[in-house]
């Protein structure tokens, strides 16, 4: 194991030289033919990474003078890693955020650039769905680009449903009927839980708020015209409490805390869980875990009260990309953003190859390539046509309210907090953020206008 000294000397020199070189590259400014654009990507699987590299990175590099240089990260760490790097002034040129709210934090701290002129140059206003374009703005200027969007749906195992003669529920009554029968059959009627990732609680809350309270009322709260303490919200949380009491949700209060997403997905596959409220990000894992990938199915959320039409789609932006204020070549960075998120055919080619959620672009059903999974096409052609769309908490709620909603929900599950207490605290937290002016503008419910 001992290394002779004369080997170590050149090694030390080489290290010193490479440190010096690295310094030159990062501070030395761009060369004549367009600079480098650094990008941190994180991917679901090696095949996903490969598709991204080929379609977006290699494609862009072949067509442009500027070159994109991608470093691959893990999905679980990308968010915090970017936060640290941005704060330390070491951000990559393309800055990742897990939604418009995080992107707006960077924008308000002037860590990312104003994209208005690029929005005009590339026609983003017409390319993106209006609600998503609106969310990309901070104080009237475009600051980020939505790179993927999704929604909450109800997952089930088609084979299991057929066996029991169930059809996907559309009303509260039907939903509770299926849950009741599943319970009697010894299954967990409704998957859920927050083990491994506390944020799973807000998937449930998003689904129930939108399906039981309805988008109009949520809009009113977010614009300061109604309160979380209003009876509709109380009834929604009490509905969840009743599911917990009956042992329907995740099998009861205690197992709520020990059930993770993996257990729910495998439960659906093994036929031990009947239904699961989760987001479109689960498409890929379901395909992976089901023995016969054809057997998993999704249905729009049922209506959970008389006030709401069945089939509401709470909208969510999964990834929002901005350009770092320290980017060497912001023009090239912005053009890469457009290359990734602004072109329907290219975006759908990526979706076809990987099953990843597409950006919120104006897409017609006939634009999907044949290889895209039918269930994906179905979802992404239903949403733009629907007027019954709502609000995902992580996309539309301000950060502290969202954080409160997740951490304090535990006490609702254990019974330490009543629905009223929980919602009163939520309103307090929201009031502070609303007064500070850091809330995002929610789109006007489409059923109204």
């Amino acid at each position: 194991m001992s290394i002779p000294k004369h080997v170590l000397v050149p090694l030390g020199l080489a290290t010193a030289a490479s440190v010096a070189l690295a310094g030159c590259v990062s501070s030395g400014g761009s060369s004549d033919a367009g600079g480098t654009v650094t990008y941190w990507g994180a991917f679901y699987a090696p095949a996903t990474e490969e598709a991204f590299q080929e379609i977006f990175v290699d494609g862009f590099n072949a067509e442009h003078d500027a070159q994109v240089d991608m470093e691959v990260k893990e999905l679980t760490t990308l968010g915090q890693l970017t936060d640290t790097a941005v704060a330390a002034g070491e951000a990559p040129d393309i800055v990742y955020a897990d939604g418009p709210s995080a992107a707006s934090d960077f924008a308000r701290a002037d860590r990312t650039v104003d994209l208005d002129e690029y929005a005009q140059e590339y026609g983003w206003q017409d390319a993106f769905l209006p609600w998503a374009y609106e969310l990309s703005q901070v104080d009237g200027a475009v600051r980020s680009v939505p790179a993927s969007y999704g929604s909450m749906v109800l997952y089930y195992n088609a084979e299991v449903f057929e066996e029991h003669g169930w059809t996907p529920p559309t009303t509260l009554e039907e939903f509770e009927q299926v849950a009741q029968e599943a319970d009697e059959a010894g299954m967990v009627p409704l998957g859920g839980g927050n083990a491994g990732y506390q944020g799973m609680s807000e998937w449930l809350i998003t689904a129930v708020f939108n399906a039981a309270v309805g988008p109009e009322k949520i809009h009113d709260v977010l614009t300061g015209e109604a309160k979380f303490t209003d009876p509709e919200f109380v009834a929604a949380i009490e509905l969840i409490e009743s599911w917990i009491d009956k042992g329907w949700l995740a099998g009861g209060a205690e197992s709520y805390f020990t059930t993770d997403d993996t257990a729910n997905v495998t439960g659906l596959a093994n036929g031990t869980t009947a239904m699961y409220l989760s987001g479109t990000w689960s498409f890929n894992s379901l395909t992976e875990v089901f023995e016969d990938p054809e057997q998993w199915a999704w249905a729009p959320l049922p209506s959970l009260s008389d006030d709401v039409e069945p089939g509401v789609f709470p909208l969510a932006i999964g990834t929002a990309l901005s350009v770092s204020a320290e980017a060497e070549d912001p023009d090239a960075a912005a053009s890469f953003l457009d290359y990734v998120a602004g072109d329907v055919d290219r975006a759908l080619e990526y979706t076809a190859r990987t099953g990843e959620n597409p950006p919120p672009l104006q897409i017609d059903a006939d634009q999907f390539p044949d290889e895209v999974d039918e269930r994906t096409v179905d979802l992404y052609s239903q949403i733009p046509d629907s007027t019954n769309v709502g609000y995902a908490t992580w996309t539309f709620f301000p950060p502290k309210t969202d954080s409160y909603l997740i951490t304090e929900f535990d006490k609702v599950v254990t019974g330490d907090s009543t629905a009223q207490e929980y919602l009163a605290g939520m309103q307090d937290t929201f009031d502070k953020e609303f007064d500070a002016g850091t809330t995002l503008v929610p789109f006007t419910p489409q059923s109204e206008g």
Binding site: E71, E74, L75, A88, T266, W281, S282
Partner: protein, 282 residues
């Protein structure tokens, strides 16, 4: 002679109660490891339906898949470099500092202990932002040596105090004898003290090396280049959205632990020698 024989025999043949206690402790340590080994040979779905039983079909391919998907070959090499450099660096830093505190006239006394212990009570997560910006100014960001220096700083307080605790308990006669014989300070340190505290230094180095081998948060923050990343990051390659493939994580976890167990086995003798053979030989 007979009085001396008896206890020696007792030492060679421990009482049954010894074996019972050691056996129970062994069961506690090993039981979960067997479950882990089982998981590494099941499919992800089987872990859910058959958690504690034997694997129905032994999927040895999990190991190959984990190895390839997480680029474990290169990552293990990177980790070997980082852990070795951390262990060596910490051993040097800790041994010299502990020697200065106990044997040379370093002013300050208890203040050093206070400083070392308080600085090991600071949550390093909070320092990531300033450290990243300093490290990039110094050209240490995204360089293994940059990460290694951080590990030196983070793991040396414990190691210093550990070696210090050994030095305090060590009689000074040998050193004084050597000084009377005209040995210089460095000679006393290198030829007299060092051989006697070798078990402590080895233990401190091993602990620091291991901690750096398993460390995640600093590694993920300070190494951006995937080709330079250590193996602790590999375990996070099996997360698909919010769903984790526990069979692959288990396989990767075992692969990651194996080199350490082997190293530990081969270094056994060096831990056991020490005072007994060397100390008396002087």
């Amino acid at each position: 002679m007979s009085t001396l024989d008896q206890p020696t025999r007792a030492r060679r043949h421990p009482q049954p109660v010894t074996w019972v206690i050691l056996g129970v402790l062994a069961l506690y340590a090993v039981g979960p490891l067997l479950v882990l080994a089982g998981n590494s040979l099941k499919s992800a779905r089987e872990i859910d339906s058959n958690p504690l039983g034997f694997p129905q079909a032994w999927s040895w391919s999990n190991f190959a898949e984990a190895w390839e998907r997480a680029h474990m070959g290169g990552a293990l090499l990177n980790s070997a470099v980082i852990a070795t450099a951390t262990a060596l660096g910490v051993a040097v830093i800790a041994t010299t500092a502990a020697y200065a505190m106990t044997r040379l006239e370093l002013p300050g006394g208890g203040a050093w202990i206070l400083w070392l212990l308080v600085s090991s009570s600071l949550p390093i997560q909070l320092f990531l932002v300033p450290l990243v910006s300093w490290w990039s100014t110094l050209g240490l960001y995204n360089q293994p040596i940059g990460l290694i220096i951080i590990y030196w700083a983070v793991y040396s307080p414990f190691a210093t105090l550990l070696v210090r605790a050994f030095l305090v308990g060590l009689p000074r006669e040998y050193e004084e004898a050597a000084r009377l014989d005209g040995a210089g300070e460095l000679g006393v340190f290198a030829r007299i003290v060092l051989p006697m505290i070798r078990p402590a230094v080895l233990t401190a180095a091993l602990v620091a090396g291991l901690q750096s081998y398993n460390e995640f948060m600093l590694a993920v923050t300070f190494i951006q280049d995937r080709d330079l990343q250590p193996v602790a990051l590999s375990l996070y390659s099996f997360q698909q959205g919010f769903t984790t493939d526990w069979s692959l994580v288990s396989a990767a976890g075992l692969i990651m632990a194996l080199p350490v167990v082997v190293l530990f086995l081969t270094m056994q003798r060096r831990f056991i020698d020490g005072y007994v053979s060397r100390g008396i030989a002087v």
